[in-house]
Symmetry: C2
Subunit: 504 residues, 2 copies
C-alpha cells in the first residue's frame, strides 16, 4: 500500500517507524511485525510500531535513518508491504537452540544487523545467545570475515602491516603513541587505529586528539602509513567493520560482551587494514575485563588459533593490571605523561616498561633479536621522539609540540591521606568513575594524577592523588565521589613485611 512519509520528531540512530491501527489492519500487520518500505533510492525492512494517537491514517511515521536509507524526504509517498521474518531470525533461533552456524548463516545475521532489518529486540537475543551458547573458532572466523565485508578496507600496497591492540580495562594506558613511534622508527609500518572511551575514563583517541587530528579517511591512513610508517588515528572516523558500532549500543545496557563478538569485533577491524602481524595486550587482574590468568590464557589461545584461520600472525602479552599504568588519567594529563616519556623523562617506569615490552615483541615478530632492549635503545636515542613528531605533523599537529603544552584544568583539589601505612590496593573502577565525574574525557583538562601507587609508603597528610577539572561543580562532584569511594586503600603495613617481621 502507498503511504505518505512523515519524519519522526526524533531520535536515535536506529531505524523506527509507526503506522495508524487502521493502516495496520489494511496491511494485515500488528506491532512488532516487519514491513518493507520501498523508496525512490532503496528499500528497507524494519519492525513496525502501531499508535492511534500520533500517526494519521495514510501516513508512515519514519525515523531519519529510514528516510536516508531509502532516499526519500518528509512528505514523499512510499510503498509499504508486509514482510515475513528474514532468514536471519531463523538463524538466531538456531543459535538459541545451541546449534553450529555456517558462514552463510552468520553473514545473513551480520548483514541484516547492518541493514537495520533486525531490531534491538532481535540483536539483543542474538547477543544473549552468543553469550550463552558461544561459537567455535570456525564460526568466529566466519563472523569476523562477515563483519569486515560490511565496511571499508584500507588498501595498503606496501607491507607487511604491524598492529597491536589492548583489550583495555586498565586506566591510564597511554602507551600507544610510544609503541607506534618506536616501531615506526625501526622502519616498520604500524598504522594504529584506536577508539574513544566506551566505558573507560579516556580512550587513546580521546588523549591523542589533544595534540593532533585523529579523523582521517582510509586513503589518508594509507598515505601516512606508507610514507611515515606510523599513525595513531581514530578508527571511528573510517567505516571499518561498522556493524560493531550498532552491536556495542545493545551490549551496553546488558553489560555483556560475548567472547565471539569481542574476538570478531577486534579482528575484523584489523583485517580491514590488512594487518599481517598483530600483538594483543591482555590486561589481567581484579577490576579488568579478564579476572584471572587462566581466562587470559584461554583468550590468548583463541586469538592465536583464530589468527591462523584468518591468515594473520598473532602473539599475545598478558599484562598485570591491578592498578593504572603510570600516574595520569584524563586527556591532557595522559598526553603530557606520554610525550614526556618520548622526550626522555625516565618516569613513570610502568609506562616505559609496558611500552618497550610491547614494542619489543613487535620488533621480534619482524625478526629483531632482543626486541625490548632494541625498543629501549630507540626510545633513549631520541629516534622514537623524532618519529613521533613526524607522525604528529602528518596528522595535522605542530612540529614543535612539547609536553608542557598540555595543561590540566584550572580547578584542582588534593586528596589527602588520613592514615599512615602502605598503599595496599588501588581500585581501577572507582578511579574511572571519579575521573569521569571530573569531566573526562570530554573536558580535556579533567582527570586524576596519582601521587602514590601500590606498595608505596604514605604518611598522614600526604597527597594520595590530585583531581583536576574545568569547572568547580564537576570538581566538587568528583571530590565527593573520591571521599565516598576511597579508591586508594592504605594498610598498616604491607602483607609481605608482616611475614618478614614474624620470622625475624
Amino acid at each position: 500500500m502507498k503511504l505518505r512519509c512523515k519524519l519522526m520528531d526524533v531520535l536515535s540512530s536506529s531505524p523506527m517507524c509507526g503506522l495508524d491501527p487502521a493502516d495496520c489492519l489494511e496491511l494485515g500487520v500488528k506491532e512488532n511485525d516487519r514491513i518493507r518500505i520501498v523508496g525512490p533510492r532503496g528499500e528497507m525492512t524494519v519492525l513496525m510500531m502501531c499508535s492511534d494517537d500520533f500517526v494519521e491514517v495514510g501516513t508512515l511515521l519514519v525515523s531519519p535513518a529510514i528516510l536516508k536509507r531509502i532516499g526519500a524526504s518528509d512528505g514523499d509517498m512510499v510503498d509499504v508491504h508486509y514482510s515475513p521474518s528474514p532468514e536471519s531470525v531463523r538463524v538466531i533461533r538456531k543459535k538459541m537452540d545451541g546449534l553450529k552456524l555456517d558462514a552463510k548463516e552468520i553473514e545473513a545475521v551480520v548483514n541484516d544487523i547492518y541493514a537495520g532489518s533486525l531490531s534491538n529486540i532481535e540483536v539483543s537475543s542474538w547477543l544473549t545467545s552468543l553469550y550463552i551458547n558461544g561459537m567455535d573458532l570456525e564460526e568466529i572466523a566466519a563472523f569476523t570475515n562477515a563483519m569486515v565485508e560490511t565496511g571499508d578496507r584500507v588498501p595498503f600496497e606496501k607491507g607487511p602491516i604491524y598492529d597491536f591492540h589492548s583489550l583495555g580495562g586498565v586506566p591510564g594506558n597511554k602507551i600507544t603513541p610510544i609503541v607506534v613511534s618506536i616501531v615506526a622508527a625501526a622502519g616498520l609500518i604500524l598504522p594504529k587505529t584506536s577508539s574513544r572511551a566506551i566505558s573507560s575514563a579516556c580512550g587513546t583517541s580521546d588523549f591523542v586528539e589533544t595534540f593532533c587530528d585523529i579523523e582521517v579517511t582510509t586513503d589518508r591512513l594509507k598515505e601516512i602509513g606508507e610514507s611515515v610508517g606510523g599513525a595513531f588515528v581514530w578508527g571511528g572516523s573510517m567505516n571499518l567493520a561498522p556493524v560493531d558500532d550498532i552491536v556495542i549500543k545493545i551490549e551496553h545496557p546488558l553489560g555483556i560482551n560475548p567472547r565471539a563478538q569481542m574476538l570478531a569485533s577486534i579482528l575484523s577491524k584489523k583485517l580491514a587494514i590488512n594487518t599481517n602481524y598483530l600483538l594483543v595486550d591482555i590486561p589481567t587482574g581484579a577490576g579488568t575485563k579478564i579476572p584471572t590468568i587462566e581466562v587470559a590464557r584461554d583468550y590468548a589461545r583463541d586469538f592465536m588459533d583464530l589468527g591462523e584461520k584468518l591468515g594473520m600472525h598473532i602473539e599475545c602479552a598478558i599484562t598485570y593490571a591491578d592498578q593504572p599504568v603510570g600516574s595520569a588519567i584524563g586527556p591532557n594529563l595522559e598526553a603530557r605523561e606520554c610525550i614526556r616519556v618520548l622526550e626522555g623523562e625516565e618516569h613513570p617506569a610502568s609506562v616505559i616498561e609496558k611500552a618497550c615490552e610491547c614494542a619489543g615483541i613487535l620488533l621480534e615478530m619482524a625478526g629483531y633479536q632482543d626486541g625490548a632492549v632494541k625498543a629501549r635503545e630507540i626510545l633513549k636515542s631520541g629516534k622514537a621522539h623524532e618519529k613521533f613528531l613526524e607522525i604528529v605533523v602528518a596528522q595535522g599537529g605542530r612540529a614543535d609540540l612539547k609536553s608542557s603544552d598540555l595543561k590540566p584544568g584550572d580547578y584542582k583539589v588534593d586528596i589527602i591521606s588520613t592514615k599512615a601505612g602502605y598503599v595496599h590496593s588501588i581500585n581501577n573502577k572507582d578511579l574511572v568513575a571519579i575521573a569521569k565525574a571530573c569531566g573526562s574525557p570530554t573536558d580535556k583538562g579533567a582527570g586524576i594524577l596519582l601521587l602514590k601507587k601500590k606498595g608505596q609508603r604514605v604518611e598522614v597528610g600526604d597527597v594520595l592523588f590530585t583531581l583536576y577539572a574545568e569547572n568547580e561543580a564537576k570538581l566538587t562532584r568528583a571530590r565527593d565521589l573520591a571521599e565516598k569511594y576511597g579508591p586508594v586503600l592504605i594498610e598498616g603495613m604491607l602483607i609481605k613485611r608482616v611475614s618478614a617481621q614474624q620470622f625475624r
Copy 2:
C-alpha cells in the same frame, strides 16, 4: 538536572525518551544509559536515546507512557538523574549464566518489566535466557506468583471456581461457549476469560463478540460468575497479570514462547481469578505448538506439578490437532457453528466430541461419574443451550439469539479440487494465513468453511473449501494464497488402503 518535557510525536506503548548530546554530557550519560525521571506524581527509570537533530538543549523528549506514569504534561519541568542499572539487570545476567533464581530476584525482573524500567533490549535478553536456560518448577511457581501481583484479582466469594484453558495452535477451536454452558448448566462456576487472536486467525473472544459483549470489569465478572455460573469474556478487558501483554510483544518478533514464560503466563491469569480446578487442553500434532505426544506429556506433567505448588488442582487433556476442529474458521462462521451445536445440530462431530470430552473431565473433577456421558446428556437436553442464552444475556446479548443471525461475508469463492482421491492432510498454518488474508478476525464475516476433511473422498470438481470476505480485494488476495499453498492435500488413495490392497 532540570529539563523541560516535550511530548514525543509518537509511538508505541513502551516508554521512550531522548536527550540532546550536550545534556547527556552534562548528566554524564550516553545512549542506552538509564535515567530516572522524577515528575509531580511519580518517577520512572528508562533507557535514554541521544540525538542532536531532534531534541533541543534543555528539553527531555518523552513518550506519552512516561508522562502518564510520572503525572506530568507537555512543557512541565522535571528532574532527571543518571541511574545505574537496576538489580533486575543483574538477575537477567544470572539467568544468562544458567543459575537458579530465588523468588525475590524473579519478582524484581517482573516488576521492572511492568514498570517500564527494563527496555526491549533487556526483556529480549531475559526471554532468550529463559528459552535457553529455562527455569525449574520452583522458579516458575515464583514467576507465576510475581506475575499475579502486578495485576488485579477477581474477588470471588463463592466457589470452587472451575476453569479450562487450551494451549491453542489449532484453528476452528470454537468449543469454549459449549463447554462453559454445559458445566454451568450442571451448577458449577466457570468464569472463562479468553483471548483475542495473537498469531491465529480467530481467538475465542474474536468470535464471541459477534453475539454479546466481551469487555467486563473484575466486579462484573464476579457478579456474572456467582449468579449465572458461567461467562466467556475477554481477559484483556481486565488487568489480570498485565506484564504478559508487554512480554508477548517481544516474543512475537523472536518467534519464541519459552516454556517458563508460557506456564507462568497461563497460570497467573488463572490464579488471578482464584481458580481451584483447571483443565488444560494440549492440542498436539504437526503444525501446532506441541509437535509430539512426548512433548505434550512433559507439559502435562509440568502443569500438574506446578498446580500442586500453586494450590490449584490441574488435569490435562492431550488432544490430536492435525486438522481444524469442525468446519468453520473466522468470527461469524465459528459463532454460527458453535451456536448450531448448542441448538441441537449433530454436526460437526469433532466439535461436539471435543466439547463434551472437556466438559466431562471438568464434571468428573467436581465429583460426577462418567462426565462425558453426563455432558452429552446436558447438551442434548437443551439445558446447555438455555444456560448459554442466560450467559449471553448477562453479557449484554439478545435472549432470542439464533445461529442463523450470524452471517458470513457477501464475497465468496469456492476452491475446487482438480484431483480425485482422499484428503491426506490439511495444513493448519496455511489455513490460518488464508483466513487472515480473507480479513479474519477483524472483518467478522471473513473466514473459511471446510467442506472436506481428512480421510474423506474427493472427486474432480468437488468444493474443498469456501472462502468468505467482506470485500473483493481481500477475497482475491486470499484466493491467490489458497492456490499458492494448496492447504488440503489429496492423495490417490489412503495409505491404509495401500496395505490392505497389497495383502489382498
